[in-house]
Symmetry: C2
Subunit: 144 residues, 2 copies
DNA sequence: CAACAATCGAGACTCAGTCGCAATAAGCTC
DNA sequence: GAGCTTATTGCGACTGAGTCTCGATTGTTG
């Protein structure tokens, strides 16, 4: 994912392309693995990007609404984000380095039909997150 | 789920059966739908159960470690809990009233094998939460 | 019942996330 | 490109969930 992809999405959705948003797009695009709002705040402060705390949160809201970024709920309870394609999918997240891969629908669509029949609930949304070790981290020693 | 089930689990795991824990067990057992830590704090204050804020959080930690209670991450970003059986399963949560049902493994186990082969990750854990309307809420008007 | 360790409550504290508002600047129009 | 409109920003105060500390309490075991 590169920065223009993000700014384009903002533009197409009718949002203004401001300097702070460009800076954040850059930051997010070049980030490796998942990041927290605080990561962005800290980094943009350190690099004097002139992006305030509130703006980081506001931008993450917008971006996640556009589907350019998605919020993960880590097993630790923390909130993190990953850049991703705006289509239905799920994330496989490395619990060591935080890098993630997207996987498709995996037949969950049909599964949810079965669950509706079994429980009587009408399923509207679901969340599936998978955690484990990526190939690199496994080779690096976690693979025991 | 009833209160003894919860206190038994505590006892078997070697935890002391204190008055605050019994009170919380009672509260949780009789709760309808999901609840937040704050719900418990507020209720126990209102009913003068003499259970402090810190104790509620500490107890929820213990109980969720024992698998008697599970933490949900609602789409809103809030944290909630539900009482449940300590076995691998997933929750179907009503987005209107908060009541939830447990569903089994659903073939996710095999699915995760397929994902491992496709991505190279070694999957350790996953989280699947389904949100929708329960039969009662659907009948009550949400069923449009 | 005594002794020890686990647990508790109160309240201070931390820290993520929100809010209100005056200042700024994108983007449109001419 | 100047001017106008309005979305957006930064600041700083605020909120509220969750944690920590510590002296007091209370299960539990023998």
């Amino acid at each position: 994912m590169d920065a223009p992809t993000i700014t384009d999405a903002l533009g197409e959705a009718g949002y203004r392309l401001t300097a702070p948003r460009r800076a954040l797009a850059q930051l997010i695009a070049s980030w490796d693995g998942h990041f927290t709002a605080e990561d962005l705040v800290r980094t943009s402060r350190r690099r004097r990007l002139g992006v305030g705390r509130a703006t980081v949160f506001r931008s993450l809201d917008v971006l996640s609404e556009l589907g350019v970024v998605e919020r993960l709920d880590l097993p630790s309870g923390d909130h993190a984000y990953v850049a991703c394609e705006p289509a239905h999918h799920h994330h496989v997240v490395c619990s060591s380095c935080g890098r993630s891969k997207e996987v498709g629908d995996l037949g969950l669509g049909e599964m949810s039909g079965a669950i509706e029949r079994a429980t009587g609930y009408r399923i509207d949304t679901h969340r599936l997150e998978l955690f484990g070790l990526c190939p690199a981290c496994r080779r690096a020693g976690g693979g025991t």
